[in-house]
């Protein structure tokens, strides 16, 4: 780690320069410029254990050109810029550790055009996932990336979001065709076309997907759509242990059963869901499944999967074809958040995720459960088991410094464990402020390549400073 480029300068404006910049922004944007404490705090870390670090101001642009003007002005005044979607980042990606301007994309929420035949659409970055799917429903199309929160497409691209349907439909990496981005110098660039594939030059689209706003601000996205499947079935089954649940999924994928969703809840999570939703499920590791396809296809998928379940000692394989029955089966999965909060009244939900090769998933989960017990934590586990990604929901008393220290140490060990298994310190939450040291542990000198790109494209460090990289 010898030839690291200089650390970002975080905008580097003096206090007077910054004040003058904020005054110019106020003049430019009128009532779409805000500095009230409440609005600033709503544009900081909302959803994680990190301290709340509000920006100096919040702006609400309405066009790409306006974003470009804001970025140029902030650059001239050494003001950091922090892109903001709905604030659902789980690693404090929206915090403003160096102050600056939060760029709230919420008013750029137009679905610009849907190309039905090509199954793609162009949206502004502030369009949310549910908004887009409501827009598409009558066309028989949908956008499949589902990270849980009703996040904006821009935010989802920036954290390379994925979620429950990634095993079948891919992540944001796979579903973004092109972006319009405002670069750190305020220039506007289009990174791709609507062609489904291209070998024309460097993949700048994929560079911005997952860059967490540190290289520029995404203002428009062209994304792939999928046809709403003619039939959807759901299934649920429990297992004597995590290993047999994971082995079942490994075998199903190996045999090419195109599972659309496959979620694994550990027995702690099932217990929480039973308590919350009164489901009466067996308190054992449990798979929640969804199959998409033709009528005959989903039946065949469910039956084939059921055979593999039986071979692996799974029990009570139940499947449901109607929407109502399906929703009943998936109810517990959908209510995980609330069920967790009830597990330990007064606690907060501290979410963390890792991802490992699927062959190591059971080991990683079992070791992590032992660690949870030894550390004395309340922390159910839910896994997107089809791709080796799992979440630990640590229910923590965030005011208790000793407990928080134990939780942070636990999260550290979890990351180290995943990295040691040739996995990653985050499958879908991103680095933000929370995982910078683990990015280094995972990538080693490859972080130098990332920093060289950051320095080349954002030499003054105006774009979301203090994120991704250790300052």
């Amino acid at each position: 780690m010898t030839d690291a480029p200089p650390a970002p300068e975080a905008g580097s404006g003096t206090a007077a320069m910054r004040r003058a910049g904020l005054a110019r922004l106020a003049a430019l944007l009128g009532d779409r410029f805000a500095t009230g404490q409440a609005v600033r705090e709503q544009h900081a870390n909302l959803t994680s254990w990190h301290p709340v670090q509000p920006p100096d101001a919040v702006v609400f642009p309405e066009t790409t050109e306006e974003v470009a003007a804001i970025v140029r002005l902030c650059g001239q005044h050494g003001l950091p810029l922090i892109p903001f979607g709905v604030g659902s980042s789980l690693e404090a990606g929206c915090n403003a550790p160096f102050g600056g301007v939060s760029v709230d994309m919420g008013r750029m929420n137009a679905v610009l055009v849907v190309h039905e035949e090509d199954m793609d659409c162009v949206v502004q970055a502030g369009v949310t996932r549910n908004q887009l799917n409501a827009h598409l429903r009558d066309l028989g199309l949908f956008f499949p990336v589902d990270p849980g929160a009703d996040a904006t497409l821009g935010g989802m691209a920036s954290t390379r979001a994925s979620g429950t349907a990634a095993v079948r439909y891919g992540t944001m990496k796979d579903n973004v065709l092109a972006l319009t981005v405002v670069m750190p110098d305020g220039s506007v660039r289009k990174t791709g076309t609507r062609a489904r594939k291209s070998s024309a030059g460097y993949d700048i689209t994929r560079l911005f997907v997952g860059a967490e706003g540190t290289l520029g601000i995404i203002t428009e996205l062209t994304v792939r759509l999928h046809g709403i499947p003619p039939a959807v079935t759901a299934a649920i089954c429990s297992f004597p242990d995590l290993g047999s649940a994971c082995d079942t999924v490994i075998m199903a994928i190996r045999l090419g059963i195109p599972v659309a969703r496959v979620e694994l809840l550990d027995e702690v999570q099932v217990r929480a869901c039973n308590r919350h939703s009164g489901l009466g499920l067996a308190e054992r590791p449990t798979l929640f499944l969804e199959f998409h396809g033709s009528e005959a296809g989903v039946r065949e998928q469910a039956e084939s999967f059921g055979e593999i379940v039986a071979d692996h000692g799974g029990g009570s394989f139940a499947w449901a074809e109607t929407t109502e029955a399906r929703n009943r089966l998936w109810q517990a999965r959908h209510e995980v958040y609330w069920a967790c909060l009830e597990l330990r009244p007064g606690s907060k939900f501290i979410a963390t995720d890792v991802c490992v090769p699927i062959s190591r998933l059971a080991d990683c989960m079992v070791e992590t459960k032992r660690d949870i017990e030894a550390t004395g934590l309340v922390a159910p586990i839910v896994g997107h088991v089809g791709d080796g990604n799992f979440h630990v929901s640590v229910m923590g008393m965030v005011e208790d410094a000793e407990e928080m220290a134990r939780i942070k140490a636990f999260i550290g060990r979890l990351n180290e464990r995943a990295i040691a298994m040739d996995g990653t310190c985050t499958g879908e939450h991103g680095i933000g402020q929370g995982k910078q040291e683990y990015l280094l542990r995972e990538h080693g000198d490859n972080v130098l390549t990332m920093r060289a790109i950051k320095a080349a494209l954002d030499p003054h460090g105006v774009m979301n400073p203090g994120k991704v990289f250790v300052a």
Copy 2:
């Protein structure tokens, strides 16, 4: 285009420096260093209309550490480096316009480890596609990216190759999990892990996929594998015109029929294939299809597809379940190259490709066919129609300067046409030396982002200079 970083210096060694560098390489590598004319010419452009520009020397490294030593030494002596797989680049990616050293990866051809449960494997960059699939066959696994040529995995990653199965299994972009790369300064970096997905930092893997060796040399790849499907069926059907063939495919994809391969031959190509293989097919636009899945699944896919064919005026839908019958159906497609050469004895095969949104594919192909006629060319068309990518095989007399000028002008119009339809100037062949001006036309100022990255990672322009970017 005002703030372009300085053009690459193409190594910038003086003649004396370079001579000294070659002498040091000879000492380092012994008989794995070659300067004979024949071997140098075999390591230049082998497959396109571009002039042959051999390197000064060819080296045959056996380890990543040896590649790193070669890169460091070449850097010290201002010698350009050109990575070489099997030389099947169609845009002269292997040429050495500034001289330098061709780094032949052919001896780094070990399959290092296959992780069956995780369905991934780690290979050296010189492993070829057929070699890998032969290695995997007994495990019931395969690597799906099939660009036609028996290319190396390193070369395929570098040009973001795809081919006939991309509509179902994705391109190299989708199937590479991690890379080991030697950077332009000779440092060795690992760009990812074996986790199926990650949100940890910038996607350096995707930056190297498609960089055509201009950012470093790929020495190892971790790639995704797929289970050999239990059943494979093939089908063939002809259409009154290109539009109805394209509409059929659009509808099938819309309905979620997971077609594994779908190739469209125009009537000129069918005529050539009939003549070469004696197939007696109707000389009309023809789809060649392959379906992968369970026994019942492939039957359902073929039947559903057949119904759509009938709805669109397609005729003589024939499908085959046995390997033998399937091979017979696909024979014509496999023999396209030879069939084309027979169309015009003495001519060479000048391959070019573009990719457009699928809704524009019929228009683009029809306009291109008119252009072919008006230009007086012999040029059959084959399309990977599932993703809007098509190839024009111009059968040209490369010694005839006037004809070559007409062919180049035709290719220029083809690129402009695709770009105007929101498509790309190359779906899978890459930029190399042939499409640099169209990269600019397609990407505009986004090329500045690419050049800034090139300048940051390879400040002395040692890596494959004269490719991708206009010098």
